[in-house]
């Protein structure tokens, strides 16, 4: 059975515009709560009642999402084709920033071998300026945002697919020379 607290948290989840955090809930309820536990119980309840929604952990907070199987109908409602609206270049730039942040544009360009256009990603709030690097020209440093986590459905930047695994794909059938792999963190 769900308590009044559970129902309050549900109400907050329904109205919050960003993932709901522990501190927000405590601020609203004015007492300490174990949000993880409450969320798990509400999640179970949604499941039992076969509701079309579930709770996803995104960044430091929780958000109610529709279940994947209702996607076709919702997509029609929004006249959405369901495509990722990022170009190949944008995805490349994003992945470099995600794994190597904070990073300068020069460093991104060096990896890609071409100059990179960051303005769109900044406008979409997927990346942000993190300050300047101490060095010649004091170039701007870029990093990913909380919206980046939301967009890719990640709890934290540590949840990114392991780059090592990617490396193994690259190294298929290659034995000797593995010094390159240790170039980054």
């Amino acid at each position: 059975m769900l308590s009044q607290t559970h129902r309050i948290v549900q109400a907050l989840l329904f109205t919050a515009q960003e993932p709901l955090t522990q501190s927000q809930v405590e601020l609203c309820i004015q007492e300490e709560v174990n949000l993880d536990e409450i969320i798990a119980e509400i999640g179970d309840y949604f499941e039992q009642e076969k509701m079309p929604i579930w709770i996803q952990k995104i960044g430091q907070g929780y958000r109610i999402m529709t279940r994947a199987e209702y996607e076709p109908w919702i997509r029609r409602l929004f006249q959405d084709d369901g495509n990722v609206r990022l170009t190949r270049a944008a995805l490349e730039i994003l992945s470099i920033i995600a794994y190597k942040q904070p990073i300068t544009r020069g460093e991104i360009d060096a990896i890609r071998g071409v100059s990179s256009y960051l303005k769109t990603l900044l406008e979409k709030k997927l990346i942000e300026i993190r300050g300047r690097q101490n060095g010649p020209g004091r170039p701007l440093l870029y990093g990913t945002t909380s919206h980046f986590l939301e967009y890719f459905g990640l709890n934290s930047i540590q949840d990114l697919p392991n780059l090592k695994e990617v490396e193994e794909v690259v190294n298929v059938g290659i034995s000797e020379d593995d010094e390159e792999g240790h170039a980054d963190q």
Binding site: Q79, E92, I111, G113, V114, G153, L163
Partner: protein, 246 residues
């Protein structure tokens, strides 16, 4: 030698080189530099013939490839010094492997985004954070807008003679009219708006007013099908000045 590379859009010289490496099943750590340089230069030639703009990076890479090729052809002289002679290809390999790593990672990111796009957040905010604000304009181009506009114009009766008169309608006036219409309804059809217009010039000015309001982010326009109805939706302003003006 026949040359049948399909003109993919390559993100840059590294992308192009990786394409050759994959296509020709080359071991990235033992690149046949003469072969790949030839392929690369031929591709550049094709691009030139097609009058495609060649970014400076492509030329720079061509120079690097040729330098490596020359270095590999030159005999190593100082035999007496027993230090390890670096393979001229080492730096290129390092760059390629590094780039490939992030290129693969970007594909994984894309998959993550695709997975996440299947879930829609439940909340009442119209400016939902996981929504792309561009979505409303995604399947409508200027051409579509123009075609719909032309259709409305064609529906108006063609006058046999013309009388030139100073237009009574102004852009601001029509924008105000639209705002007034939005007070009653959230979504308007362009055909509906046009049907209350008296003449072509009024339709024209109203259309211009719509374009202007789209430009200033006061309106969104959307269209389900090509040549279909254009729907106008007002974007809620935070400071509400639009409503106050009307």
């Amino acid at each position: 030698m026949s040359y049948n590379v399909k003109l993919d859009i390559f993100e840059g010289p590294l992308d192009l080189l990786l394409f050759f490496i994959k296509r020709d099943e080359i071991n990235i750590y033992d690149i046949p530099i003469a072969h790949i340089t030839r392929e690369y230069l031929e591709y550049l030639e094709v691009m030139k013939q097609m009058n495609l703009h060649l970014a400076g990076e492509f030329i720079l890479m061509a120079a690097l490839l040729m330098r490596i090729k020359v270095q590999m052809l030159l005999p190593q002289e100082e035999v007496e010094v027993e230090e390890e002679i670096e393979d001229p290809r080492t730096e290129l390999v390092r760059i390629l492997v590094e780039y490939q790593k992030y290129k693969d990672a970007s594909l994984q990111l894309k998959e993550l985004a695709e997975r996440q796009l299947r879930f829609y957040p439940v909340n009442t905010s119209s400016q939902n954070s996981s929504w792309d604000p561009d979505i409303f304009l995604s399947n409508i181009g200027l051409i579509d807008l123009g075609v719909a506009f032309k259709k409305i114009l064609d529906l108006r009766a063609q006058p046999k003679y013309y009388e030139i008169e100073i237009s009574k309608v102004s852009l601001n006036q029509q924008a105000q009219l639209l705002r007034t219409m939005f007070l009653k309804r959230k979504r308007l059809r362009f055909s509906e708006i046009a049907s209350v217009m008296e003449d072509r010039i009024e339709v024209v000015v109203t259309f211009l007013a719509i374009l202007e309001m789209v430009r200033t982010s006061e309106l969104r326009v959307s269209q389900k099908t090509l040549y279909g109805e254009i729907y106008l939706t007002q974007i809620q302003m935070k400071d509400n000045h639009v409503v106050a003006d009307a």
